[in-house]
Symmetry: D3
Subunit: 338 residues, 6 copies
């Protein structure tokens, strides 16, 4: 993919200043896309284009050289654009002269996708392998088969989906990361709570949020899907689990308990749980979910911490700002085994 001039990020483009007229080229995602009709009856496109560093709005009229291409690209597409800086109503609104759609699979450099959207801080391949290991650790064969069947049905979609649109792990691969992190926590905690059936709890952890792979659609510009709005991830996940459990001929009571974990994991009815958790496994999974969601907010705030600032911005999910500097080491360390 020959590139002249070099690609600029949105932040770089905005830094070119207010004078207008400078040429630029960028690799961007179509975040919002709407076809509208002007007063004179002519159609035009109202777009939001962006990358990880920011975004801008852009109106493309029917006589633009890029109108046809962008109209066919649609929301979530990756586009390489060239144009000149312009402002409308005081906001950056470039005039585009060239545009081409780029397939995500053609982006040879992984860093390119990282520049386009936020990604999980952990390597997706490692997470995927670790997920497979947790699936394999489910001891009852039919239960393991049911878990595997859900992931087989979802395929790649599960691996790239976000875990949320705005609260925690709200980025590409976030659902995978959150699921694996919860599995690690369940692995660590189950020996401490012997009244919990480890096998069932682990299966519940792995499957609890699988409905989100359907609730959200698009990985570069994710939004709530039609099924997400009409059914919600709790019921979508329940249905996935039910189908897989019946296919795997899972014992009826085990299936009922597994479905119950999915139905109750949100913890409170007003947060979307269909019922309150009523088995030891369901209580544990809902509490680990809450714990890892909060810790995910902490981790993201630490990653994004500005160099000179002691505290993060106020984080809605934590209802406070987070102290982002590590504690001091103390004067020495002569004991301790933990």
């Amino acid at each position: 993919m020959p590139e002249y001039p070099p690609l600029l990020s949105v932040r770089d483009v905005k830094a070119l200043g207010a004078a207008g007229g400078q040429a630029f080229a960028s690799l961007l995602v179509v975040r919002r896309f709407a076809t509208k009709t002007a007063g004179n009856g002519n159609p035009f496109l109202s777009l939001e284009l962006g990358d990880r560093s920011g975004s801008f709005s852009c109106t493309v009229f029917g006589d633009s050289p890029v109108f046809d291409l962008l109209r066919s690209a649609g929301e979530g597409a990756i586009v390489r654009v060239e144009g000149k800086i312009d402002y409308y109503q005081g906001k950056l609104s470039p005039r585009l002269a060239k545009a081409s759609v780029v397939e995500e699979s053609k982006l040879t450099d992984p860093a390119m996708v990282s520049n386009l959207v936020e990604n999980s801080p952990e390597d997706p391949k490692g997470l995927k392998a670790e997920l497979a290991g947790f699936v394999a650790s489910v001891a009852r064969p039919e239960l393991r088969a049911a878990v595997q069947a859900v992931f087989d049905e979802l395929g790649e979609v599960f691996l790239t989906a976000p875990a949320a649109l705005g609260m925690h792990h709200a980025y590409r691969h976030g659902l995978l990361e959150h699921t694996v992190r919860m599995a690690r926590a369940a692995q660590a905690l189950c020996p401490l709570y012997p009244e919990v059936d480890r096998d069932l709890a682990m299966a519940g952890v792995l499957l609890h949020d699988t409905g989100k792979a359907i609730e959200y659609e698009g990985t570069l510009a994710p939004r709530r899907s039609r099924r997400g709005l009409l059914q919600g991830h709790v019921v979508l996940g329940y249905q996935l689990v039910r189908k897989a459990g019946m296919k795997a001929r899972l014992d009826a009571e085990l299936l009922e308990r597994l479905e119950h974990i999915v139905l109750s994991h949100q913890g409170q009815l007003e947060w979307g749980a269909a019922v309150m958790a009523a088995t030891p496994e369901a209580v544990l999974v809902s509490m680990i979910d809450n714990l890892d969601a909060k810790m995910g907010m902490v981790q993201r705030a630490l990653r994004q911490a500005a160099a000179g600032e002691e505290f993060s911005e106020r984080l809605p999910g934590l209802e406070t700002a987070l102290l982002t500097r590590p504690p001091p080491p103390g004067t020495g360390a002569t004991a301790g085994s933990g």
Copy 2:
């Protein structure tokens, strides 16, 4: 302690039937104690006496042979009583003929205390040793010294106090059990959250609820103390930690972070937190606290599960009834390492 006739539990006494007049002897705790004045100006005692199997009210007038002894015994005392079954207003209200106070330390048989009040299901001695191990695992010497200083100040009181009056771990040694269980969970989870300073989180876990050893008083008939009502366990614990930290010459910032864990561990302002958790350690401790509190409710409901019942009573803390039967084993177990 020679005993004729044999000691009956409150449940046994109630089972003697409504006819009245039967003689009985019991070992009981004075759960409620009030001195009142009758219309004729004479004082009388209004008592609630009970053991683990139940309780009954009992009025003792000034001319009773046990008046003086019971008046001096006071709330929380262990008393051995003899008397005859009687009813007042349709409720069991025995006439007592003999009474003697028994020192808790004189109860030779541990089962006797178990019959009087609910106890932690774990052996207190083992818990105490495990607690000492967690204290020793704190690597920074001053931090470890501060933790130790709080336990030194509280002494036995911490070891027998309940963790609550009504919600979770609300029984003798419950505070010790809850603290050790949380330490186990922190030990298990810290490797998964490297952004958390393990040392500080462990110290925070060990100390977070120490104010409860002052907030509640009495271990056989615990109630909120004057300081508990006027300051609350969050501030009482903060003050314990502050004093111990200054005595141990703990680094000022470490002490501030340790105090913050105590001040924020309740998780929400309306649950009594002074501030919202604003460090990685404080977020983790507050989430583990919530997790172990909920699992403690599960464990107690399982211990108390009636033989023939599939579900427990509705549990206020879980907002549902708990399914108390274990899941079925499934058809086989050919894989799994977890």
Copy 3:
């Protein structure tokens, strides 16, 4: 069924007075049933027996002549008992001498069931016929077939189930009555809201609460079932509808919209809705549900209104007492066609 002496209601039995020893016979429902073990290791039954006029507790020991029969009867059974008045702890607690189980189908006089439990004020047969008419009014054949399939699967259970355990239409046939009343309201309102697809709304009304036929079990002493506690009536109804829709080869989008009505009809997440209503039909059904629930509380309070009282007791569902006397006629009526 020859009867000597004549059957007394619980209210009649209680009116026999406190002296004890009087003989009586009653037809009652076993409302609560538990097998317990006494201190001496012997089993005994702890029962609550009642009819529409009240109830009493009753302990039956292993040496009682009715022990075996009542142990096998279980919760919800109808029993004919004879015995003598007795009191325990000041409460009526008769000693039973004879007992026999009576099949509900053998109760020749409909008034007998009415005396046992509260019933819908409308004739169940008429309601059943009206329900069939509403099913037949669904115009799209596959949609009508799907609705019919759900009722075919549930059979009699739907016709006798209550609509709730405590709030509205909480009595035998209450679910049928509530469903038919809502269908009448939908029939009346749909012409006023042409943006609502009448066919889909009617199907949604008929099916929205069908999960309650599974959530509650027992019609004489109903309680929440295992599936009710683990899944809730919203998900149970969704599953019934989904299965029936697929069997009827209902168009996928129609099925999705029908499922959405069931999933959203509770109106608020904290009231148990899986998602908020997001189609015109779902909004209308959830509002009619709320309206008829409130009017059902009004109707029941009017039926139970005491003769001399202007206001009912405070009704929790209305958060006030209800004025139960009709308004005055006014001075004349010379206009109006309404």
Copy 4:
């Protein structure tokens, strides 16, 4: 009204582009109006001018040729303005050269008012006639007279007022539309709830929101009036009804029940009800109010649905986005009478 150049909507004006200097003419409403004083002591006007397609801010200094005219026009006036495009701080802020006030009654073309503000989708004349029919349908003469007296007192104001500033039916004639729609629903539902006095319920529906005709003032730029802020529409409506009822010599108990419907129709104290609904009529009216408010939100979202979008924006009153496409017809329609 001769017009050169042709009148442009605000959207058209904004579409003229950022260059500035272009001449334009528009017919607009003065939405916000404030007289302020500059640092040099000179007065200037801070205005918001707009039509249905949008609005812009505009500062008019004392030396402007339109200063005197606009100062006397005030909030809610209709003005015809001419001027040139200009920008201030990046926002459209035209310089006005000519302005004239236009009486609403002089707008010969109904479409002109429609362009200025949002209107009810139903024809106001038809609604007015239908309202009169509902008034006439009230059978008790004094009750009918009381209803009529309220509308006589309010006159035109009731017919053009909005039903809200932001939630439902928040547009010109919205109050009339909402009232008539509720009357239709009451008409349809009363036969189903015979415990409801139809006459009283209909009178209550017609009058329940009449206080809003006083709570809001202005129909082109409505806002909360002084009396609206100090008393609220519930009490204002109660006072209107009380006065009219006494004038019509309405039976005291009927009047009390009619007043109660007005006082309780908001449904919950926190939504502004003075008391909870405590008569069958009041419960029904409050439920119909809630139902039609929600359906009004649905109807407006359907009217405003963008061509290419499956879902509306998130609607605060429904707490979700609305699916705006109609359901598919299905494969046939061979049955159904409903």
Copy 5:
């Protein structure tokens, strides 16, 4: 009023013991009164009789010698009864042999009323005089006249009514006491808040709760009246003020502001305010109301403090128990003028 045997309080009667059969005489209030019909068609009375020390239920059948007298007495009547102790279902339920109604005005000894119901701790005559003084202190003649007109209309009812049924000042003369206490506070605070019109605030304080004299009926056994249930004290007070203000020809704006104080004094919509306080006077009155309500709870808890107890029972209105012992004097007092 000759009395043999001496009158016993309910507490005394209950202290006579469970044997039954003892004769007694008491002066009591009919707290609850209902005429019911037995299974045999005969009417009987279901009563609750009590005094300040307690109460008991009592069933009076048609063949009782006191049936006719008690039937005509009705709720709130004072009755002198004689009878014998009896128990029903384990609860005191005496058989009455004689009964006579006593007019409240015939109770020569003020202590007798004090024994029947709880009274304000302040002397009602003094409070009444102080109220008159505050009325006289309103400077604007028409405003003063309006205030006076409301008290003239209410007469004695205002002087004896409680200020609540359960929260604060919930006893005879409690409304008068609460009003005077608030007037004292307003008197003390107005000089500190010069932006508050003292005259208007004082009139608002005096009138704010006058609707409660109608909302509650009966001073010996107060309950919510029909008008209280259908309109609530806020609207009832508003109507009293409006009528009095128009009679006194009060300036329209002053009347509107006075009405606003009444309509907003509850402070929050969910506590029953019609609107939020929107004038300086209304904000101050609502805050003083809240302050004196809370202090009234404190005062009552102190009056009822048990001799040996450091803390009161938990007070729902304060959400805690109150420390009822005074603080220690300290070591000396050498300064201070305040």
Copy 6:
């Protein structure tokens, strides 16, 4: 401090118009300060500069003549700047040519500070003297010494701190003003509530919010401090009081009660109270705090009332708009002594 050209306020600067290029000079506060790194690795400053009339953002690159000076000034500094008007992205973003830091103590004219930030409407010197008088009025010597010790420790910081960042008394000297106003109210109210220990209540009023002097830092651009975020003003104030009380050898119970006032003054747990008020003094102080906070919102809205507007903007703390015009005088004033 010679000044050419004359200093302009931010409002004046913005009024210079959009053309750009005009020279100006201003005295401003650095409200927000951040050092960032550009894409080319060079540092730049991102500032917000403002005075009481408004603010603007400003980017200062490393090659700017004012870079070094502003970098060392930091947040909260007062700077005298000169430059030329410029716009970036449609917002005022001047280019600065000169800058100098001005010590607050060097501002000879008090009006200058008033132009920079909002101040208490009362004279700080008078408030300070009045505070000293209230301290002196505390009668118990050790209690008075404890109060004095807290103010001695805080020094000037207490005198200039705001009482809040956004709700009430949120301006320079606001904490002093709020404290003195509450002391006046306590002085006025204590004689009316004799159950309140005046001495203790006054000490509690004076100290209740002293933790805010630490919770907020900076008086020209105040923000929450590290200790404010980690401990909150309730605990900070408690610690101040505890330390001072022990230093003054205050009686242990008096100190406990004084600490309790501080710990409970926020009134509700969700507003930050550590415990609910449980002594008469604590209840009174929390209610006066609430009262003066609300009246402070009223006073500020009246001070800021726009000339031509009858109502203020909607005030979040009052949940309504405030009527800002005084009530009419009425027709005369012939009585009243109040």
